[in-house]
Amino acid sequence: MVSGVRRIVLWLASTVTGVVLLFQYPTSTSSAPEAATVVAASPAGTTTGTDGATTVTGPAVDTRYGPVQVQVTVSGGVITDVEVVEYPDGDRRDQQINSRAVPQLVQETLDAQSADVDMVSGATYTSEGYAESLQAALDEAGL
């Protein structure tokens, strides 16, 4: 199936791609891998201080707001200190919610009042066609 000519074309294409990629800007590869699985339940660390107090660091727990890790100090059987050693941060949280939903099919005929959507994605959007679109109705209705 792959003719000699096609092979040469493919070789040329890949060479050109390689050269052009040298220019590639780092942000264009910003689709970071899902961070959700990064936070494994790390083994709890235990240290005993000179005063006999025991400090236990729990595993990082993945919450809907991001990973949270807590450190507890116990002295004489009493919890004397609780410290949060890892808070969810904004970036991590952004990635947390980046699992993609799959579009759900709908059947209804819709207008802006009943559409139950905020924005519309479509291939037919031009300034000429905009006035007729559901997006224009949404923008107009200010819902």
């Binding site: 294409a13 579009p103 099919l105 994605s121």
Partner: protein
């Protein structure tokens, strides 16, 4: 609890651009300034990349009047994205192709819209405590800062009737792009055959970045009946293929590994 978002509309690049803002700066001077900045970035991209303006950088590059080295650096960036899409689509997607008269055309519009909107959204991202949904000619970029807040509810237009929806998808933070037959200035063809794809009416892709979503939507669309199969093999994407007969195929894995704990 969720107030209606504040909406803004402009027309840039021959395309309607809609913005919905909610939160602290939805309806104040900072929000309006960010919107103005977004529009300005889109207009600047149009001056560089428009294939409709004979004096644009890309038109002059295509006619051989400029060398790539003489162009602004974002031209090489966009062409690199196009080259990667060409590789990933097995050559179905190309920014350089033969025109009807046999001359080679440089048309990066399949890359530019998503890339430009992604770049233009930087001003919106800088708004603290403010969520946005930016719609650039049917391609969307969303942000929701509080994961407990309602996601943006995105409708996917019926390619046969722009007043109807074929599907809905909730998006907290991410991008949605749709490619089909009716983009102005886009004569979407399979670059391997030079012909429009058969069997497919539109392809919608949901991804983290709008650059990726837009390119993949076009690359899947031009592959015609292979669109859904190709898209299913793309990492980090979900989507919807609407076929010429009006039937539709959702694409993507069920919710990721995030459901556990909490």
């Amino acid at each position: 609890m969720t107030a209606a978002p504040t909406r803004y509309v402009a027309h840039v690049m021959g395309l309607p651009v809609s913005l919905a803002l909610r939160g602290r700066h939805a309806d104040d001077a900072a929000g309006r300034a960010a919107w103005a900045g977004t529009v300005a970035v889109l207009q600047a991209a149009d001056r560089v990349f428009s294939t409709w303006r004979p004096d644009s950088v890309v038109s002059r590059l295509g006619r051989g009047e400029l060398a790539l080295a003489d162009c602004p650096p974002e031209v090489a960036e966009v062409l690199a994205i196009g080259a990667a899409a060409e590789r990933d689509s097995g050559g179905a997607f190309r920014v350089r192709r033969r025109g009807p008269d046999g001359t080679e055309l440089l048309d990066p519009s399949g890359v530019v819209k998503g890339w430009a909107a992604e770049r233009a959204a930087a001003a919106l991202r800088a708004l603290p405590d403010t969520d946005f949904a930016l719609n650039a000619g049917g391609d969307l970029l969303c942000r929701t800062l509080d994961p407990g807040a309602a996601p943006w509810r995105i409708g996917i237009e019926d390619p046969r009737d722009p007043r109807r929806l074929v599907a809905r998808v909730p998006v907290h933070t991410g991008a949605v792009a749709t490619s089909g037959t009716a983009h102005r200035g886009q004569h979407l063809v399979d670059a391997r055959t030079g012909r429009p794809p058969a069997g497919v009416a539109s392809v919608t892709v949901v991804a983290d970045s709008l650059t990726d979503a837009d390119v993949d939507a076009t690359a899947a669309y031009v592959q015609g009946r292979d669109a859904a199969r190709w898209l299913a093999g793309r990492p980090g994407r979900t989507g919807l293929v609407v076929w010429s007969d009006g039937s539709a195929t959702p694409v993507g894995e069920p919710a990721g590994p995030l459901a556990s704990t909490a």
